[in-house]
């Protein structure tokens, strides 16, 4: 009994230190940080292809996590091209042909505007916790910021990437680096966030590089020009009729 104060003294620091979150909790916080009911995003893709560099600009309206409407603003050749995603269906409209085409099957694996992103990437369920089981496998420093290294394994078949390794900023609960793998274990894509920004209390990537490792070139830079959350977006935006407008 006389050693009780001593024991308390030894345990106290451990009790006072913050508890290390579990992998599931980390992923949940990551989802909370990035996902919003609705948002309007203006972004720029700088594509470093084999034949040089080109920039694509787009404005996207997103709602209910599953629906989005995107209009390409530049370059002139792509201006007016629109895309509508409703749940698991994706249509594209080209003003040159005045045709609305359903993108399905293997076309979903095609590159979006020649970038390192595929339509399949756009179709993904944004909730990581819905799709993956997570496990902490280490701790590293990325771009000067301490991060957890998590291994995510798909819960079911049919997910675009069967395995992901993600580096999550310990303080901001934000993915700063990501490696995406096929079911065979082959590395398919790498994402590296180069610049972050805080918008309405959320940490978001201001500038990130996506690299399809199966493609030559130096990857695609994604630059977030502006973002507004919980905008009151009219329902008519998310209709096939709006593609032709």
């Amino acid at each position: 009994m006389k050693h009780a104060p001593l024991a308390l003294l030894l345990i106290l620091p451990a009790l006072l230190l913050p508890q290390e979150p579990t992998a599931g909790q980390i992923i949940e916080r990551v989802d909370q940080n990035t996902i919003a009911d609705s948002k309007v995003v203006v972004s720029k893709l700088v594509i470093h292809g084999r034949r040089g560099e080109r920039t694509v600009e787009a404005k996207s309206w997103q709602r209910n996590l599953g629906d989005s409407f995107t209009e390409y603003l530049a370059p002139p050749r792509d201006q007016g091209t629109k895309m509508l995603k409703l749940g698991d269906q994706l249509w594209t409209y080209s003003p040159a042909t005045d045709r609305t085409i359903l993108i399905s099957g293997h076309m979903l694996r095609q590159s979006v505007m020649g970038s390192d992103l595929s339509y399949e990437d756009m179709m993904e369920d944004p909730y990581l916790q819905h799709q993956y089981n997570a496990q902490i496998v280490g701790s590293e420093t990325v771009a000067g910021r301490p991060a957890w290294v998590l291994e995510l394994k798909a819960k079911k078949e049919g997910v675009a990437y069967d395995k992901r390794t993600v580096w999550v900023d310990r303080e901001r609960f934000f993915i700063v680096k990501e490696d995406l793998y096929a079911k065979s274990g082959k590395l398919l894509k790498q994402v590296l966030v180069q610049e972050m920004m805080k918008v309405e209390g959320r940490w978001l990537p201001r500038r990130a590089t996506y690299k399809d490792v199966l493609k030559e070139g130096e990857g695609t830079e994604m630059i977030l020009e502006s973002i507004a959350f919980s905008e009151d977006i009219p329902a008519s935006v998310f209709s096939k009729a709006s593609l032709r407008k």
Binding site: R77, R99, I101
Partner: protein, 424 residues
Amino acid sequence: MIVFFLKGLLRDRSRSLFPLLTVFFGVFLAVFMYAFMNGVIGDMVGTTAHYQTGHVRVLTRAYAEEADQNPNDLALTGLAKTLQTLRAKFPAMVWTPRIRFGGLLDIPDEKGETKTQGPASGMAVDLFSTSSPEPRLLDIRKAIVRGAMPQRPGDVLIGDDFARKLNVAPGATATLISSTMYGSMTMANFKIAGTVRFGVAAMDRGAMIADVADIQSALDMEDAAGEIVGFFPDDVYHDEAAKLMAASFNREFNNPGDKFSPRMGTLPDESGLGDYLSLVDSMGIIIIAIFVLAMSIVLWNAGLMGSLRRYGEIGVRLAVGENNGHIYQTLILESLAIGIFGSVLGTLAGVGLAYLMQVHGLDFSSLFRNSAMMVPSVYHARVTPGCFIIGFAPGIISTVLGASIAGVGIYKRRTAQLFKELEA
């Protein structure tokens, strides 16, 4: 004397008919096989040249490394200037640009929404220039099954089987969904002018033939093309000349440090048909060697049997004072006559059948239904001057050789032995 031999041959069928038939069939088979192999390889080379590689092909070094994937982002730029250079440097050749592309062909319903769609494997060629060699090289007019030749920009031809699969007829609109030279998704509307069947399984499956200017516009390939193909004016591949041309062009324009610099390759290099072409060169020798060997063995055997049967006759001839050498000589003369006659008949029959096959061809399309190779489905024999001599010399040589070996047995016999056998 010659009349005496010929009468003997004609009257004694067992002495002439079997060797004659053997020579006839041997020569017939050799001639036909030679013409057929000539035709098959010729068809393969011709098809490969016309639809795939030309007799020579100019593309960027980077494109050449991935040519099977049609990587249009690695296409030749400055097309007009390169074409001008090629035409100035090699004026005897026929030069034409081509773009190969893949994508989806989407057929709209009355509301403009997707009715059907299927993967298209397209080739853009110069359809509208008056001097364009493409309609002739691809034999487009002959390949049209329904509809007509494209008349104006935006008109395309699609494979007849592909059209039936898509349930679309000439006159309908189709939207091509593909990738631009810079990787963006692109859509372009075309009018289906007609449907075609080339008789090349890999081409017919999802074929789409469009004008090169239309595809340049659709794929954002201004003044660019995947390749420039060159053909000799007589439409026959000349290996030495092609190699010299490629070496000369590459020396001047190909820069190993620049993966987008143009490089010229020859048909065998570009298509992987090099080994086949070497085989064609040796084909005549291989056929003759096999033929002479097999025929000699058969005719040797026939000669032996014939000589055994003719022991009595030879005995009498020896008895009346004819010497061994003269008898041996007459046996060889007989075989020479049979050889000449059999070879003439065999050559005529072989050339005749080969000519029929040259005109009508043999359809192997069921064998190539799922083939991805650029090979023709219908094969023709090809009658060349070589066909008239390929069977002739071996037909005669093998007959004479067979008779010479068989005759040695007779030559060694003594008169007394032959008389003994005659008495028996």
